[in-house]
Each structure stands twice: as C-alpha cells, then as structure tokens.
C-alpha cells in the first residue's frame, strides 16, 4: 500500500478539518474527490508532512510517516499546490533549485517536455507566464526532483477547458512514461473518472467512500 491512514484527525482554528479519517491509497492513480471544505487539500498536505495530524497514524509504503525526515520525504513525495507559487527568476532556475535540493542532476528540457512545456521556457521569467504555464512549470519543477509520488492539489482549477484537457493528457502520459504514483485532489468527479483508478470520496472532513473507481463513482 502506498499510503494507509488510520483514525486521522486534525483541528484548525477550532474546526475539525479531518475527523477520524481512515483510507488506503494504493500505488497508481488515486483521485480524492468531494465538495470544497471537505478536507481534501488538508489530507494531501499530511501526506508529505507539510502538516502533521493531531491524532491517528499515516504510513507510507508500510513505514510510519513521522519516522521519515520531513525534508527527505518531501523530495520523494512531491506536492504541487493549487496556486502556482514559483520562486522569483526563470523557469530554469526554479527547476535547477528543486533538482539541487533533491540531489539530482536537472535535465530541464526533459522535465519541461514532460510537463507539456517547450524546453525554450527554461529561460523565461516566471513573472511573465500565464497561469496555465505557471501550473505546468510547477509540475516540471516537481518532476525535476524525480519523485516517487506526485501529490496534485486541484491542478486544473484555475484553467480553461483547453488547458485542463492538455494538463490531464500530460498527467496520463506521465503515468505511462514514468510509472509514477499520483494522488490527485479534485472537486470534479468527471476529472476523477478520467484520471483515477482508485477514489477516496470525502464529505465534511470524513471519508465517505474509498475504493476502485468503478465502485465509488459508478
């Protein structure tokens, strides 16, 4: 099992954001779906220890998550946040920084191609990119770390239909080419149908259903 969550709870600002969440997330492509405010993004942030639960346990490939060094874990389990937030500079310098943190040699051209961007983007100033291009640059930056798992928080929420379809095609290609596991948060059940093999459906901080796509989103 990629991730196992048992009885995971988290309170933020007096609100129980996650309430006794239990779920299994296998290798492959998993979609976490549910209405906004259901706790999907918070759940995703727990998976690479950007936050820790107040109670309960999470394991990654059979080992408790809190036994991993958070920095080393984050370089293996990459999270691409909902809002693109690149560092000042060029796309290439962002990729090089991420690769250097992970101790990898950055092949910027390849990472950009995988993220659906022309390698010529490496020299572009991030401040001059469109939202869609930034989102792809974020994806390319995460790939520069050669992670084992990609956590994607609403990767297409800020995009129009055309750009959304292009990112979804990119993600499907990534699954084929890199055999990387993906956990994708989406408010859109249709996107989960297109990309997920396994689905975790959340409601009000709880897991309503968890299982193969065909069973949960029949």
């Amino acid at each position: 099992m990629l991730f196992e969550l048992r009885d995971v709870s988290l309170v933020r600002g007096g609100r129980r954001v996650l309430d006794s969440v239990g779920a299994d997330i296998p290798e492959g492509a998993t979609a976490v779906v549910g209405p906004s405010g259901a706790g999907k993004s918070t759940l995703l942030r727990l998976l690479n220890r950007l936050a820790d639960p107040d109670s309960g346990s999470i394991s990654y490939r059979g080992r408790p998550l809190d036994s991993y060094d958070p920095l080393a874990l984050r370089r293996r389990v990459a999270l691409v946040p909902q809002l693109p937030a690149l560092l000042e500079g060029t796309v290439g310098s962002n990729l090089a920084y991420a690769a250097q943190l992970a101790g990898k040699r950055s092949d910027a051209g390849r990472c950009l191609r995988l993220a659906g961007l022309d390698p010529g983007f490496a020299g572009r100033d991030v401040a001059k990119l469109s939202v869609g291009e930034r989102q792809r640059a974020m994806l390319g930056r995460a790939l520069a770390q050669e992670p084992e798992v990609l956590l994607l928080d609403e990767p297409t929420s800020a995009l129009d239909h055309e750009a959304r379809d292009a990112i979804e095609a990119t993600l499907a290609d990534l699954r084929r080419e890199l055999e990387i596991s993906i956990v994708l948060v989406s408010h859109d059940p249709e996107q989960a149908r297109r990309l997920g093999e396994w689905v975790v459906r959340m409601e009000d901080g709880r897991v309503a259903e968890c299982g193969p796509l065909a069973e949960v989103l029949a």
Binding site: N48, D52, A98
Partner: protein
C-alpha cells in the same frame, strides 16, 4: 568638547507657543490631533524631566553598574514598544529583546574598545540611549515587514517547503527583504545628512557653542555607530523571529489559529 550652556525654564515655556500653533493648525484643518498634541507635549515634558534627573544621578554616582541598569531598562522597554509594531510575528518579544541587547552591547563595546569613547556614564548613557533607540526602530520596522511578507508569501514559502527546502531556505527571500527594510531608512538618511537635514547631535552641539569641526566629527562618529547597531539589531531580530513561523518539522505554522496572543 566640554561645552555647557544654561537653558532657563522660561525659554522652554516660551516654545509652548509653537505647540499651541501645532494644535491650532490641527483644530483649523480638523485633523483631530489637538488632544494627541497636548498629550505628546505633556508626556515629553514629564518623561524628559524624569530621565534628566535619573541621568544627573547616574552622572554624579558615575558607577558602571547604574549605567548598565539604565541601559537594560531601555532595552526591555524598547523590546516591548517594538513588539507592539510587530503584531503579526508570533512571540516577537524575545527576538526583539535579544536584538536590542546584542546591538547595544556590541556597538558600545566596540566604540569603547576602539578608544572612541571612555567607558564612563557621561558617554555610555547618551550614546547607549541613541543606539538602543535606533536599534528599536530598525528591528520594529524589520519585524513589521517580516510579518506582512510572511503572510503575503505563504503560498510561495509552503511550495518551497514542499520541495524539501528547510524553513531557513524557504524564508530566505522574505527575511532578506525584512532586514533590508529595517536598515534602509537610516542608510538613506545618512546619505542625505548635512544636505537636507542637520542631525540632532550636531544641532545640539552648535547651539551649546561647540566648534563646528568638533560637532561634525562627533556627529559622524554617532552616525557610523548607529549604522552598525541598526544592522546588528535588524539581523538578530529577523534571524531569530522568522523561526517562530515554523514548527520543528519544518512546517509553516497555522497563523490564523494562533494569532491572538
């Protein structure tokens, strides 16, 4: 440099005419500051008179223990005042206290070690007061900016943490901007000093009848000393304070939940 003049209470009272003028301007243009102007005039009178007696006492006793006690009180009040301007920084008091103490101790220690001033109450009290006062302003501005920048750059900082960067690496651009804003005011005013404004020490010495060359030299000494102390204060305050935004597991703290302290 040992000049001395006598200023009568009557002369001080006469300048109240200008305070009245300020209040009149406020009343006329409905700036609603008359009350504050009155409080400011009264408070400055009481505070300066009181500190005047304290300094007189310390000068007469001329023991270093009393000097350090006075400077320590200034550091604590400075940190408390600066904290109120850095509300978005969690637990800002301790970084500020350390920043003011280190800035005061190191710059005073250095000017004494370099033989610029003697280690006596007559020099340490006024120079220490200026050093701590300027260090307070600089660290308050730096932490105020740090709080704003940390709030504005939350997404970027967390996205950088998500790459496996340490809190220090993720916050570095933010801390750099905060440090810069803490130092820039004094750097800019030092650039224009003598052209656009005459600094206080020089004005005071000229009024007291000192030779202009002496007045300029003393002013330069103080300006250079202040540059050093302001840099140290802003550096120590930002270096200690940014950590309060992160947990030991290199996570960004939830500020909304913890803000009311």
């Amino acid at each position: 440099m040992s000049t001395s003049i006598h200023v009568s209470a009557g002369q001080v009272a006469a300048t109240l005419a200008l305070v009245a003028l300020a209040a009149a301007v406020s009343f006329w243009r409905k700036a609603d500051l008359e009350r504050d102007i009155g409080i400011a005039a009264l408070r400055s009178f009481i505070q300066l008179t009181a500190i005047g007696y304290v300094i007189k006492l310390i000068f007469e006793a001329d023991t270093l223990a009393l000097v350090f006690a006075l400077l320590a009180v200034m550091v604590v009040f400075g940190a408390l005042t600066a904290r109120s301007r850095a509300k978005k920084v969690p637990d800002a008091f301790w970084p500020l206290l350390v920043a003011l103490a280190v800035a005061g101790a190191s710059t005073l220690g250095l000017v004494v070690a370099l033989g610029v001033f003697e280690a006596t109450a007559r020099y340490l009290v006024p120079v220490g007061g200026m050093v701590i006062g300027n260090a307070m302003t600089a660290s308050a501005v730096a932490l105020n900016r740090l709080g704003d920048e940390m709030a504005d750059s939350r997404e970027r900082i967390e996205a950088t943490l998500a790459l496996g960067a340490t809190a220090q690496e993720a916050a570095a651009p933010t801390v750099r901007r905060a440090l810069r804003s803490g130092m820039i005011t004094l750097v800019d005013s030092t650039k224009t000093t003598g052209l656009i404004f005459f600094p206080g020490t020089m004005v005071g010495m000229l009024l007291a009848g000192a030779n202009p060359t002496d007045a300029v030299r003393l002013q330069l000494i103080l300006l250079y000393t202040l540059l050093g102390s302001v840099a140290i204060a802003a550096l120590v305050a930002t270096t200690l304070a940014y950590r309060n935004f992160f947990t030991a597991a290199q996570q960004l703290r939830e500020m909304d939940a913890e803000a009311p302290a």
